[in-house]
Symmetry: C2
């Protein structure tokens, strides 16, 4: 057991007061300084890998190679947000020069619009990515890049790793000259609830379960001054296999699918939880005969219990076992696959399409491809939706429905593995996200922690640099609408 | 009295079903078609000005010149959103080509990100702009430009004008070939509450009071699937006059200020409700002696009653009359000015800085400019904050605080009159807006009704045009981060 103590009220008050002070300093500072802070954190975490990874091993049961890979991803993420801060496109700087003949019917004043940081951000870290969606993960990196101080609420599943990571982050920030209060960590559910309701916290990022995320979302929205709550809650990540794809590659698709839904013991928010296959498919035959990978210990006992319960609920909803490993309900649950018909899903989508966090997936047999758009439409909002299809397939209508349902649509690829890039989208309609207009992965995640401000008729010397006629550090701008 | 009837449940159901169907057609259609719809609406409204303006006169007491100007602004706004749709920058199209050596530690897939419309939008129109923030106002124009069907909830203050405007809009859309269901109007509070809770409505725009807006916001956030609620609720729009500005131009500032706070009988969300002046100022002397403009009938009796109540509350909070016209509490309330000290404001900001919708403003006398940042910090979130200052003034700290408090900061200009431009920002921290990251005026307002979608590994033929290697209609794009 970790000896980390829950954060008390007095300590929390000090953290929030310091975060509020830091918000002003970061806002008045420049984005090049923030980039340097992020790079310093990335370097420090890389340097401490040998100390941090074993703590993660002990607390999460995740294998060493996975944790080392995840830490590399995490420091890459910090560096790409440093690059994003320097780049300055995120400011969406716009200049309208005064225009006496503006056709609106009244002269247009000189208006210049940029974005400023929202202020201190609460980050609720996830159980399943102890580095990449945790203390120094994407929410923290994007908030700091935006110029917002961060107060992390540590996940109870890896308290020691959280504390050690926070120590490395805090020391690196301090050594790099970041304002005191730019970063802090708190422990315990009460501290988390207090955070999201405190007037000094101006936004929150969350990755976790639907009930936990919704409870915090509700607190954030019922404040006297509601704040944006960027929650990534849950997703089923359906995969639609066409008849032609099954004929051409049914066996390969089955093999790849098994790799995807069992990766990391199925503990990914993008795990394919449902796969829709044609009746009598080669894929199903291959799935029945496949030797599934061995079971693996899950992140912790609470998650394992929840998983076994969810599998039982699926079975109570009528799902029949297609294939399973040695001990699907044991300490290290073996992967398990169930099956239902399309008609059963249409009759009872609530029970059958619930997220099941672990090495399980549900095969849905459909009678005809013409059913696929209707089947797609019964899903709730998703992080991802995937097609396994051939180029000649008539899937335009299905793709349209999937774009409405999901933040990311994949073609002959698998949703697990979320690349940190400029064009990534991780988020989708509720409950995939509580803010479907945003992403929690990729450089656009910085937009969540910014607010537009326009300056009207201002003298050059009082404008932010990016809005001046001759900026010291030019950024791409929209000038007079061009 | 208008004979418009409240919309019944059966009619509302038909409207929502049609809006849902139209959402699919608009999403699958192209942005050039939507631009043509908007232009057709603008042309039709311009052509019907002689019919519409007299109805507005009768229902709102607003003068003919004002209504004609507002209609011109409204049709300009529709056309600039048509231009925005054609321009395509709003898509924020991003392409990451596959990169096997991506330094994250895993190959980067081909990822292409664009934005799609959210779906049907509920628009709650305002009392005080019967054209520009109403049936065919900014929310409607930006939602249609984004590709979202619109269901307007008419404001009870101008039902006949709403019905007639809706008729013109509906006929123009239909003649231009817009999908049936792209636009509808409903009447009555119950219909409005139903709208914001219906699963087919995917976002809402609102301009109005804090209590009304907050009630609808709460409904939207407590849905099983919460939706974005873009509410513009209330603002006090403080003006900070420096000592040097008062010495140099105190009399002129007083004259301009009177013009601004009495414009349109003070019924603007950007009316300057507080002006902070140095003790013993020339401006105050000028205000005491000024002949205030004559009173004008307010929009309706309910608003007049609320206004008189708010003025009485200000007086109960300790505000003393500086100057007032003939009958400040009458049928056509004469403008009235009150005064308090800085110390009184700091002791009781809640009572003294509440929005007072009508021809009233509050002078706050400060002792020293050093107090201004502290005074600025007691205001709630604002649409605007203004400075009257001279170029040599040391106001950097004050400007920083004002940017944190307001969406738009003005220098030696007045906040009334919100130009529709590319760089405009109309919105600010709560309660100025329920979504401070957005604007309800200016071309960036289109962003409110869009959602990002990324396509991974897709064949060219199934991608939206803006994401193809050789698009038929190129738009500016971020390619591989550049």
């Amino acid at each position: 057991m970790s000896e980390v103590q829950a954060t008390g009220a007095a300590e929390l008050e000090g953290i929030l007061a310091a975060a509020e002070r830091a918000a002003g300093e970061l806002r008045r500072g420049d984005r090049f300084a923030r980039a340097a802070y992020l790079t310093a954190v990335a370097d420090a975490l890389d340097a401490e890998a040998d100390a941090l990874v074993p703590i993660g091993r002990r607390e999460t049961n995740l294998p060493e190679a996975r944790l080392r890979g995840e830490l590399k991803r995490t420091t890459f993420q910090l560096r790409i947000f440093a690059e994003t801060a320097v780049d300055g496109r995120y400011l969406d700087a716009r200049i309208d020069h005064a225009e006496p003949e503006w056709p609106m019917g009244a002269p247009r004043p000189d208006l210049r619009r940029t974005h400023i940081p929202l202020g201190p951000v609460a980050v609720f870290s996830a159980s399943n990515f102890p580095f990449a969606f945790s203390v120094a993960g994407g929410d923290t990196a994007s908030a700091l890049a935006a110029g917002c101080p961060v107060v992390v609420k540590a996940h109870s599943g890896h308290l020691d790793l959280s504390r050690e990571t926070a120590r490395v982050v805090g020391e690196a920030l301090s050594a790099a000259g970041a304002p005191a209060g730019s970063f802090a960590i708190v422990y315990g559910t009460d501290a988390g609830r207090t955070l999201v309701q405190d007037r000094r916290i101006k936004a929150a990022g969350f990755t976790g379960s639907i009930p936990g995320g919704r409870a915090l979302f509700d607190l954030a929205q019922s404040r006297p001054d509601p704040i944006p709550f960027y929650g990534e809650l849950g997703s089923n990540n359906p995969v639609f296999v066409t008849e032609a794809a099954d004929r051409a590659r049914g066996g390969d698709i089955a093999r790849e699918f098994i790799g995807s839904f069992t990766l990391g013991a199925g503990q990914f928010c993008t795990k394919p939880g449902t796969v829709l296959v044609p009746k009598g498919s080669r894929m199903l035959a291959a799935l029945r005969e496949a030797e599934l990978p061995a079971g693996a210990a899950m992140l912790n006992e609470r998650i394992r219990e929840g998983y076994v319960q969810a599998v039982r609920a699926l079975q109570a909803g009528g799902a029949r076992v297609v294939n399973a490993g040695f001990d699907p309900y044991g300490e290290a649950p073996s992967p398990i696959l169930h099956i239902v018909s399309a008609a059963e899903v249409l009759a009872n989508p609530g029970a059958l399409l619930e997220e099941c966090f672990g090495p399980s997936s549900l095969v849905v047999e459909y009678d005809s491809e013409a059913q696929l758009p209707e089947l797609a439409s019964v899903f709730e909002g998703q992080l991802t939706a995937s097609l396994q299809a051939e180029e000649g397939d008539d899937v335009a209508e299905l793709v349209d429905v999937l774009a409405v349902k999901a933040g990311r649509v994949l073609w002959n690829q698998w949703p697990t593995g979320v690349s940190v890039t400029y064009a990534q989208q991780h988020g989708g309609p509720y409950p995939a996200s509580t803010a479907s207009g945003s992403t929690s992965v990729g450089t656009a995640a910085i937009d969540r922690f910014l607010r537009p401000v326009a300056y009207q008729g201002f003298p050059q010397g009082l404008l932010p640099d990016e809005l001046r006629e001759d900026p010291a550090n030019p950024v791409p701008r929209l000038v007079d609408g061009r």
